[in-house]
């Protein structure tokens, strides 16, 4: 099978890979680049476990062909912390127990980081609707929503 050659930027690093035409960005992240932090919960765009940011936009990596990543900038959960320094959302999720099994957590963190970049002062309802595409089966969302609201308040205070 002939492969496509792609050059893209992932978490700030220029990255080259070969992929099959039908492979998704999620396939490549997970199976070729060892970036398994993005999860495949459904493969159909319904769970948000594969959420990544491409050129500033939140997308489901399972719905984007890997070939489309050419020349783009992709951010995944692996790029969210700065070395040892956790992003405030990551820190708050730990402190407020906003995860149980944790499999939805990477997608939810990536999605909420993108939300707070767009809207630093979201209402509870805005957070809930923004996350409506990110399924969590463990928590009932309560502690997740609280952690996001709390982080937003902290970040506004710090800014």
């Amino acid at each position: 099978m002939s492969q496509i050659h792609v050059i893209t930027t992932i978490n700030g690093d220029e990255t080259e890979f070969l992929c099959e035409a039908q492979e998704t960005l999620l396939d490549v992240l997970r199976d070729h680049l060892d970036l398994t932090g993005s999860k495949e919960g459904c493969g159909t765009g319904d769970c948000g476990a594969c959420s990544v940011i491409v050129d500033g936009r939140l997308v489901c990596a399972c719905l984007m062909l890997a070939g489309e990543a050419e020349g783009r900038s992709v951010e995944t959960i692996e790029g969210m912390a700065d070395g040892d320094d956790l992003h405030p959302l990551q820190q708050k999720f730990l402190e407020m127990a906003a995860l149980q099994c944790g499999v939805c957590t990477p997608g939810i963190l990536v999605a909420t980081k993108n939300l707070l970049e767009r809207n630093p002062n979201p209402t509870e309802e805005e957070v809930r609707y923004w996350l409506a595409g990110n399924l969590c089966r463990c928590t009932g969302y309560d502690k997740i929503i609280r952690a996001v609201m709390d982080t937003a308040a902290d970040m506004r205070g710090a800014a």
Partner: protein, 747 residues
């Protein structure tokens, strides 16, 4: 009192809310789940599944698939050369790979291993299966009729009465007294029929494993499961291997809720690996998860309850019919045990029927059998309260089971917390908050047994005095944190001195799966006892150093102390000091404990919910939700609350949205998260958790399991809220908009 029984004490660490030890890996994407592992030379597995609900497999032609470049193994049932002796293992085998018949839409019929995912998928398409389609049945009531298509003949147990199809394989009965006499004494008797749809556990991580099996019978599996010992034992039993030759490691697990207490495709991965001579990774798609792994049972239920004007229940009966899916053995007996468990009844009788259908084999789902057991009972009690103008909380308190009550399923309760949850509900501001138009408030109670079971823990005191704790239960919601906390509490050391890991099957003795809300209780119990064992050894080492009797040594604040003035005057020896000289005082120090834990301590909850029903569309919105549950002792309250909230959310989904929808053709019509809609963030309000602590007499710290009870009351609590707001009694789940609308319009 023996030392393992509950003793009141002040806690230093238990009851606090530290950051969990596995947290950083989970917020940075480093944590490795089932599908995240690879091995050198690894192949990709894929499974071909029946598109028919019921069909004879006449022949399978795999030659074209085998000839494809990159295909390294193709297997069918013929490659499973061992036939297990026990009927239940033979069922597991047949469910993993169909033999003579495909019994449900999604039943595995062949599998391949190839060098890439895309080749594996293409190879599935090249396999030709010749099916002889058979009549099918997917509805539980239909399946019971004498003329229903029979899934498998010859599986009926002796206790099943005449007059049913052979699909009815088992019947169970519980209760005491004379319900008919009880109904005579009632001022009002209500009898109703209820149905609930099958729902899926809906864990976000699809089942996945990486397996390797050599011709010598030695193998390894990396798998997301609630019990890697179960995976080992079942795979060994199904394939005729020695359990000791299989080493199974549990990955991080992305949710299970009972659905990962079974084996679905691990034997398939092993057989593929044996045939190909390479490790094989097998990851199910979401479609496969829905079609072929355990949903819970759908049910058809009759409940009859008699009540006096003062609210006392005079008699109660229930008949539970639960579909088991394609193999015998459903959870109807658990429903029959749980239905009336919260109440102190003189006259009560329940029965449960287990019914085979052309659906995937029903699996455990959080408090299996209990939600559908409580739903009709709590609904009828609510309707009796409405008609007799009684307060629903007061009425439940009047009938509530207490210490000394003989439960409807047999035993007599020790100290339990139902009354406490009801009283907490009565005094909560939620109970008296005003309601608006089209809004209703519902309450319901729920019960779950909680389990103990086989448990092994080892606690190593390292040369530097830090502590490594090994346990054998996958951590599904923060249990490593709880174990570290209990070990640190008992040893008297700081929490950061203890690290807990989940050991593989070769490192500890048998451990029951992470189920039955057993882990915090049973593994916690074993952890405390392993710590006490290590303390005993450390006291002996200190005694030896001081030249005094070990009985004259006390352990407190992480150090050995002379017990009193008579013991001699020695400065305390800390765990670090004792560990540092261990090689000179008898060797490395480790405590361990192996037990089949009993005394789990039953659990009760009361839920309160406000809903609003849209009179135009029939859509139900949950406005406010409060959970009152007895935790015995909350080791890490954050994660106890998380269990309360998560269970309530799943119950809300079951009540309002979720259902397996089968077409006339017997195929599942909604095998994806778009059409099988679990609650999303915008569907739910905050869920307020209220933790009650009525100590479990069977645990040193008073701990009870908390994981499951929270899914039991929501079905009825929401049905009661909706019924009250719409003035019509709803009796079928889910309460989807068309159903609610039809009920409101009386059609």
């Amino acid at each position: 009192m023996p030392k393992d029984e509950y003793q009141s004490r002040d806690f230093r660490i238990v009851g606090t809310r530290p950051v969990r030890p596995d947290g950083i890996d989970k917020v940075t994407g480093k944590a490795r789940y089932g599908a995240d592992m690879t091995a050198p030379g690894m192949l990709w597995g894929a499974i071909l599944r029946s598109p028919h609900a019921h069909a004879r497999i006449k022949s399978i032609d795999t030659s074209a698939a085998e000839a494809m470049k990159g295909v390294k193994a193709v297997i069918t049932r013929a490659d499973f050369t061992y036939q297990p002796e026990s009927a239940s293992l033979a069922d597991v085998l047949d469910n993993c790979m169909a033999g003579e018949k495909a019994r449900y839409d999604g039943h595995a019929v062949a599998a391949v291993a190839a060098t890439s995912k895309s080749i594996a998928r293409a190879a599935l398409k090249a396999i030709k299966v010749d099916y002889g389609v058979l009549p099918h049945v997917t509805d539980v009531d239909e399946a019971m009729k004498p003329d229903a298509p029979v899934i498998e003949a010859g599986r009926v147990q002796e206790n099943v009465p005449e007059g049913y199809s052979e699909n009815v394989t088992g019947r169970s009965q519980y209760g005491h007294g004379d319900p008919e006499a009880g109904f005579e004494k009632a001022d009002l008797v209500i009898e109703r029929h209820f149905t609930t749809a099958a729902t899926h556990q809906g864990y976000i991580e699809p089942n996945a494993c990486l397996a390797q099996l050599g011709a010598d019978g030695q193998g390894e599996i990396w798998v997301c499961t609630q019990g890697h010992y179960m995976v080992r034992n079942t795979c060994a039993g199904v394939l005729g291997l020695d359990a000791g030759m299989l080493r199974v490691t549990a990955s991080e697990i992305g949710g299970g809720f009972g659905g990962k207490t079974h084996v679905w495709m691990e034997p398939t991965a092993l057989v593929l690996s044996r045939k190909a001579g390479k490790p094989v990774k097998l990851v199910l798609s979401r479609d496969e998860v829905f079609r072929a792994t355990g949903p819970t049972a759908s049910s058809s239920i009759d409940v009859k309850i008699g009540m006096k004007k003062d609210g006392s229940i005079t008699g109660a009966t229930a008949t539970y019919r639960l579909q088991a899916g394609a193999y015998p053995g459903s959870i109807a007996f658990l429903s029959a045990m749980c239905g009336f468990a919260p109440y102190d009844l003189k006259h009560v009788r329940t029965e449960g029927y287990e019914v085979m259908t052309n659906r995937p084999k029903a699996a455990a789902y959080r408090a299996p059998g209990a939600p559908m057991a409580a739903y009709p009972v709590e609904s009828v009690i609510d309707e009796l309260c409405q008609k007799l103008d009684l307060d629903p909380l007061e009425t439940r308190l009047k009938n509530a089971a207490r210490e000394g009550t003989k439960a409807s399923y047999g035993p007599t309760y020790p100290a339990i917390g139902l009354e406490a949850t009801l009283k907490a509900a009565q005094s909560h501001p939620h109970w008296i908050a005003p309601l608006g138009e089209n809004q209703g408030r519902g309450v319901a109670c729920g019960f779950w047994f909680n389990f103990g079971g086989d448990t092994c823990v080892s606690l190593m005191v390292n040369p530097d005095g830090t502590v490594s704790l090994s346990e054998g239960n996958p951590d599904i919601g923060g249990s490593r944190a709880s174990m570290s906390m209990m070990a640190a509490e008992e040893l008297g050391v700081d929490l950061d001195q203890v690290r807990t890991v989940i050991a593989d099957t070769a490192s500890l003795g048998q451990n029951e799966v992470t189920d039955g809300s057993r882990v915090t209780f049973a593994v916690g119990l074993a952890t405390i006892k392993a710590a006490r064992h290590a303390i005993q050894i450390m006291k002996e080492r200190a005694a030896m150093t001081w030249g005094i009797d070990p009985e004259a040594v006390d352990w407190r604040d992480g150090a050995a102390h002379p017990a009193g003035p008579n013991a001699g005057k020695f400065p305390p020896m800390t765990i670090k000091e004792i560990a540092a000289i261990a090689s000179n005082t008898g060797g490395p120090i480790a405590g361990h404990h192996e037990v089949t834990a009993e005394g789990a301590g039953v659990s009760f909850a009361t839920h309160m919910v406000d809903t609003e029903t849209d009179p135009e569309t029939g859509q139900v919105k949950v406005l406010r939700y409060t959970v009152f549950q007895d935790a015995g002792k909350a080791v890490h309250p954050d994660y106890v609350e998380g269990q309360f909230q998560g269970g309530a959310a799943q119950g809300i989904g079951w009540a309002i949205n979720e259902e397996y929808i089968y077409g006339e053709d017997g195929r599942l019509q909604n095998p994806g998260f778009l059409d099988y809609r679990i609650p999303v963030a915008s569907d739910l309000p905050m869920i307020e958790p209220v933790i009650l602590e009525i100590p479990n007499p069977g645990h040193p710290y008073g701990v009870r399991g908390v994981g499951e009870t929270s899914i039991v009351p929501p079905l009825a609590a929401i049905a009661n809220a909706v019924s009250r707001s719409s003035n019509v009694r709803l009796t079928s789940l889910p309460m989807s908009p068309p159903k609610v609308l039809a009920a409101m319009k009386g059609t």
